[in-house]
Amino acid sequence: MILTRRAALVTAAVTPFAIGRARAADTLKIGVIAPLTGVVAEPGRIQLNSLRLAAAKINAAGGVMGKPVELLVEDDASSNPGAVLAFSRLAQNQDIVGFIGSIRSTVMNAMAPDMLKLGKPVMFGGTDPTLTHQGNPWLFRCRPNDSYSARVIADFCVNSLKLKKVALVHSTDAFGTGGKNALLPNLAKMGVEPVLVQGYANNQPDFTPVVQAVKQSGADVLTSYFTNEPDCAIFARQLRQLGVRTPWVGSPSVQSPVTRGLAKNALYGTYAVADFVEDSNPQALSFANDYRAAHKESPDSGWTYDGLMILTKAITDAKSTDPTKIRAAILAIKKYAGTEGEYNFDANGDGLHGYNIVVNNNDKIEYKQHIEFTD
């Protein structure tokens, strides 16, 4: 009896180790930190599905340097401490060659010190511009950062719509404040001083004070950085109820399916910047079709798909899993056609430098134009 139990224990202790070693030789391991639980679990699920789609595509084409890609996923529980733990757990695995990080900037900020210490490439989606400007060479962004969304919003208002009395409504959280801080200098460059800059705290049941402020400012165009979709929808409805009809150019939340579902006709005619738009390029359309075929719903973002594609392309280009060589190969990527647009990595690690503008035409999101910057 005692013998059997000991034997069982020994087997139990040895087996995963042995399997781990055996498989280590077979696959190319990519670590993924994604919110599987908690408040942002929903987008996390879509990001993970997209990644699996990319991995399946790569593996169907023969993998990377002859090895299939394997995703090792850890849950960040939608929180900063959770993300730090998730990353450090993955970091222990010596076989992982690179990581897919988070779409949330504070989560990236929390993990960044450990990422710097580990020294392996991380593809991420958080749009806080400073993330690629803090001397951490291992962070590579697969979405255009907020300075570009801000530039595009400013450019579209002033040059395309020819409107200069700009009002800005922004959340006071990291995303909204980052957007505000990026938009104001871009407007200033065009000689525009906003007639109203109004912050609000997330999760408000009522936006009357904000709407009244917009109404009284005399703005002829409204710009916005909303974080939470219900906030955006409540604001939109009250805005229309209280009779504000000015054009509205917002951050992506204005055109997200959830916001449109909540606000309905209050959002008709609004413009938004969008990093991922299905009909903006053939790659996006093909990815969206594949995703729909697999999951019966439309994807709202393609950055994790692009991230894995670029990471594996860089490994193939470098013919090595050495982090420094992968880094050099990523930075060498130019004119790569991804789902989110054309990637031209700059020295900071930013891959994309432009945004799409879309318009809500009776609840149908239409691609309007792409604004790209080269500097």
Binding site: Q198, N203, P205, D206, P209, V210, A213, Q241, G261
Partner: protein, 291 residues
């Protein structure tokens, strides 16, 4: 001036929401001396029930509301048996903590079952609202103000004028004595939980068209409703509605004329001021001394 009136109206509307949620609190405080940190989840559950009946099964809106209220009343009894009953002799603190646990449990169960996305639901009326003299009056806000007022009067009458109300009050003040007087204490407490849960659910259904239905739709509202309750006078029914309205107007005005980002701070600063200076609230009785 229209700006001020518009802020005033919407402030009263949001204040009526606080008052409505607060009414559920008051009863539990008065009859069972329970502070229920799961009150917001009652509202959330009520709203989800309406979504299930109306959005999914396509049952008539008003019938759906009625059904939801009945189910919520039953839920209140279950809540009482699991969260309050085993702890009833152990003082206020364990019950507070167990209601916090219940609130975490309910939020996350709904999250598992329904996902984190918000859902929109129709209002009581076809029209969103109408304009008088440049002020937009939202029908749902008007409805909430009217219903909250009716319920306050109803609750006040039940509590102060009926035998049932007297029994409930007696139960709250001294359970042993009430029991000696032949009042079925257990039944009284279960009624209270059922009513409180039904009220909470109704409040959730009424605010759902405005705030949409989501797991955390009522969290901050319940917290502010509780603040309103203390400002108005802890456990006082007229205090609940006046405290709620005052809070709604003050935070809307404060946001507009002082600072929007600090809007939530006005409610809590007002609460702190009341607690420090006049803890019995606007309508409360002096906190009783007992040796």
């Amino acid at each position: 001036m229209t700006n001020f009136l518009q802020l005033l109206f919407n402030g009263l509307g949001i204040g009526a929401i606080y008052a409505l949620v607060s009414l559920g609190f008051v009863l539990l405080i008065r009859a069972a001396s329970v502070v229920n940190f799961g009150q917001g989840e009652f509202s959330m559950l009520g709203a989800y029930l309406l979504v299930i009946f109306f959005n999914i099964f396509g049952i008539n809106y008003y019938l759906g509301m009625a059904l939801s209220v009945v189910i919520m009343a039953g839920f209140g009894v279950i809540f009482a048996y699991t969260t309050y009953w085993p702890l009833r002799f152990r003082g206020g603190l364990p019950v507070i903590i167990s209601t916090i646990g219940a609130s975490i449990f309910l939020e996350n169960m709904v999250l598992v079952l329904y996902g984190p996305s918000s859902v929109a639901i129709d209002g009581l009326f076809e029209s969103d609202g109408f304009e008088i003299g440049g002020v937009f009056l939202a029908t749902q806000y008007l409805a909430i103000i009217v219903i909250a007022t009716i319920l306050v009067v109803f609750q006040y009458l039940v509590f102060e004028k009926t035998l049932l109300g007297k029994k409930l009050q007696a139960t709250s003040q001294d359970k042993e004595m009430a029991s000696l007087l032949g009042i079925p204490v257990v039944f009284m407490i279960l009624i209270t939980f059922a009513y409180s849960s039904a009220m909470g659910g109704l409040a959730g259904m009424l605010v759902a068209p405005l705030l949409f239905v989501s797991v955390n739709m009522a969290g901050i509202i319940a917290l502010k409703a509780f603040a309103a309750n203390i400002i108005g006078g802890y456990g006082s029914i007229p205090g609940a509605i006046l405290g709620g309205l005052a809070l709604g107007v003050i935070e809307t005005m404060g946001a507009s004329y002082i600072s929007v980002p600090y809007k939530d701070a006005f409610a809590f600063a007002m609460l702190l001021a009341f607690l420090m200076v006049r803890p019995q609230g606007m309508f409360g009785e002096k906190i009783s001394e007992k040796a």
